[in-house]
């Protein structure tokens, strides 16, 4: 066999192996349902909703933040109560769990581009600064999904810019985007690693079996009530996920609201809250707050991105469940320093809603998130009172 023939066969073998690899990747990803929708479903849906949002005739309000925003702000209630005081607005809940300011920066760029392209402006943007979304711990834990999320949120031009500084990473990112269906190898390794070597469950405090059973029973009952009271909820037009679910207590039966009360009683036991606090400490360094400078920089970018497309931008820290979360004095000092850095970089004064009187300790569903029909109602009321003058 001649040298050329051998290398022709070699190249063919390389090509076939790579094709087979790509086939296997797609096959397993599809089998696992791990497509971009599955990975970052709400975020991609919210991105896809932008062209419709910019065409909305009323003044636009957006609350951009974490899962605490998602849980704590009700756009339907806000719009209804704003209309009652003569402000005609459509508001959107762009609060997403599992993100951090790095990813949010890219998402805010996409939002900003859409508004600029349509020559539209938001009347008011409220941006949540979530201290524990900005910690080193949070950043480290995001590493397995970093490149996958990045390829979903960044443009080719942004990926190219990354590639100019780091060719290896650039090629990797394009490979993930166009050949791996947005799923990086780290994500898969982490997925299989967790499957093979699951982290030890840290349920340090245990509720009694009766409470656990009751929690399950009431949860199932609430699901059944939801199906019963909203028979058309599977219709996508009925409830835009990026609008925060879209249910308000006035629409629910008295019986359902009573079940919610019972449900909160069994889900917010001391043991459940203690476990939740420990998990937040592990996953987000919630009491020590060792900030990741890169994430702070990206948070500053988020504000700047919205400043380009908003008449008013407000930055705030959401209510904190101080009964369970006790930040150390050193953490408070670090937080004050970071807040000052953000204020200096953006020229905005950050509002501190962490300890407002309107929110009481029984309005949380866990150690961080406000509860549905209690916390979200109170906080949305508070926001409307605080920011209604800006809607003129």
């Amino acid at each position: 066999m001649t040298s050329r023939k051998i290398y022709r066969k070699t190249l063919l073998a390389i090509g076939l192996c790579m094709l087979c690899a790509l086939g296997i990747i797609q096959l397993i990803l599809n089998a696992m349902g791990a497509n971009s929708q599955g990975v970052l479903g709400r975020v991609t849906e919210a991105r896809a909703a932008l062209p419709a949002i910019v065409k909305e005739p009323k003044d636009l309000v957006m609350f951009f933040g974490s899962s605490m925003t998602r849980a704590g702000f009700s756009p339907r209630q806000f719009d209804r109560d704003a209309a009652a005081v003569g402000k005609s607005v459509t508001s959107y809940n762009y609060g997403f769990g599992g993100l951090n300011p790095y990813f949010q920066d890219f998402l805010s760029r996409r939002i900003s581009e859409e508004f600029i392209a349509s020559d539209r402006k938001l009347k008011l943007t409220m941006i949540e600064f979530n201290p524990f979304q900005t910690t080193k711990t949070r950043w480290q834990r995001a590493q397995p999904v970093l490149d996958s999320f990045l390829t979903l949120l960044a443009t080719d031009h942004e990926l190219l810019e990354i590639g100019k500084n780091d060719l290896t990473r650039g090629i990797r990112l394009f490979n993930i985007k166009y050949l791996r269906g947005n799923i990086s190898a780290e994500m898969i390794t982490s997925f299989f690693g967790r499957g093979m070597f699951p982290p030890q469950a840290h349920q340090t405090y245990k509720d009694d079996q009766q409470t656990i059973d009751e929690r399950r029973r009431l949860g199932q009952l609430l699901s059944a009530k939801f199906d019963e009271e909203y028979p058309n909820h599977k219709n996508a037009a009925w409830s835009s996920p990026w609008q925060g679910g879209g249910t308000i207590p006035e629409e629910r039966s008295a019986e359902t609201l009573a079940i919610f009360n019972d449900y909160y009683a069994v889900t917010q036991t001391d043991n459940a809250m203690k476990n939740d606090r420990l998990s937040r400490i592990r996953s987000a360094d919630i009491e020590e707050l060792n900030f990741e400078p890169l994430l702070v920089e990206h948070f500053i970018n988020i504000i700047k991105n919205f400043q380009k497309i908003s008449q008013h931008v407000e930055v705030m820290m959401l209510p904190k469940n101080s009964r369970w979360i006790h930040t150390t004095p050193a953490a408070e000092a670090r937080l004050a320093k970071v807040v000052k850095q953000i204020e200096l970089a953006t020229g905005l004064k950050m509002k501190n809603h962490q300890n407002i009187d309107e929110i009481t300790s029984d309005m949380y569903r866990d150690t961080t998130h406000l509860s549905r029909y209690r916390g979200d109602v109170a906080y949305t009321n508070y926001l409307l009172k605080a920011y209604a003058p800006l809607l003129e």
Binding site: I6, L11, L22, I24, N175, A185
Partner: protein, 470 residues
Amino acid sequence: MIFNTPIFFWFFTIFILFYGFVFLKQKPKVYLILVGSLIFYGAWNYSFIPLLVGSGIADYFIAQAIYNASCQVKKKQWLSLSIILNLGLLAIFKYADFAINSVSALLTTIGYNASLETLGWVLPVGISFYTFQSLSYTIDVYRGDMKPRKGLVEFIAALSFFPQLVAGPILRASHILPQMHAIALPKWQAVKHGFLLITVGLIKKTGADLLAIPAQKAFEAKEAISTLELWTGVLAFAGQIYGDFSGYTDMAIGIALILGFSIPLNFRVPYFAKSPVDFWRRWHISLSSWLRDYLYISLGGNRHNQRTRNVFLTMLLGGLWHGAAWTFVAWGAFHGAIITATHYLANLKIFARFNQSNTLLVGFIKWAITFYLVLIGWVFFAANDLTSALSIIVNLHVLNSSIASGSNAVTIFVITSVWVLLVHVMDFYVIKGADKLESKPWLFWLLMMLGQGICLFIGEPSNEFIYFQF
């Protein structure tokens, strides 16, 4: 650039296009290898290319000077220059900060408040490998084992040959230079074996990445973990470092075979060893044989009843070669001690029958003791510092019933053990029976495609290759 990354895939595909279809003659091929290797190295950090090329150029001319020197004294002076140059590079880039920190700690211990500034320099990747490779050339010429080669480009191309540049195997000049001088046309059988080794390497690396999870749990635990999980972690690290390092060298050998080069085996199922001496005949063979030929023998070898001292010194420096930390020194010393103990016991009449016995039971006992000692050695290698290493070793032997194991601890232990065993069985098969598989083309290529497909699916560099830091 790492073998299991997309950038290497594109680099290698383009390289093959030029290598197989454009540069068909000897000289252009050598130039292509040189340029390709420098691009490969430069993709990590191009500012260290002059260091690599510079040390190669220096050794090339020093070897000529050694050969042409009129007397032994002058030869020795030239060789000393080569040793100072190569080890000097290692000393500056790899060991300077370690030395400064150690002196600083020593001064603090004896009462001086010394806080010495470290250099903080980046360690050039692969420096430990290419300096040893280059040094072997000047030593071989000094000893008269080979004549200096003509052709600077050939020499630099051999030194920087990309498949083995950053993590070995450490090639002897006498092995690689003749191949670079007359690049062989590849044989299809060799190319197929190359594909097999690349696939096996990918499988090992992928497994190593997964084993990193329980290993990290043991070595980076912030809270106490159970004895079973600690043993699992140590076993997982053993599997991780083997899969990681031997996987990389398998891929290196496979890639070299595709290019028409032969690189010797670097691992021969090391965890099947039946004595510490046997382990070092199977583990990182290119380093252990380098240390034997160029350090142990230079120190005097077995002569003058100095074997114990020379073995211990060789292993100590071998440990230090792996990294600038006391944990690596301790690892080397530990292996020096167990090899010395093995030699001592082998000379005792009481063990003579045991040593010579080939029964299954005795073989198993020898293997179990060796594997246990190797695992204990890995604790020094993987621990963050000596205190943690000693604490882990103590905890491995003290059953702490107050700490409960995680819910899947037994399963994880079993999976880890089975994987370490399976990888060795796979290696054994590749060494002994690859021909049978390679003679069935459909099965062979199906397995290659599936193996590479699955590995690229879950693989990629979620963990850097451990040996890159050396």
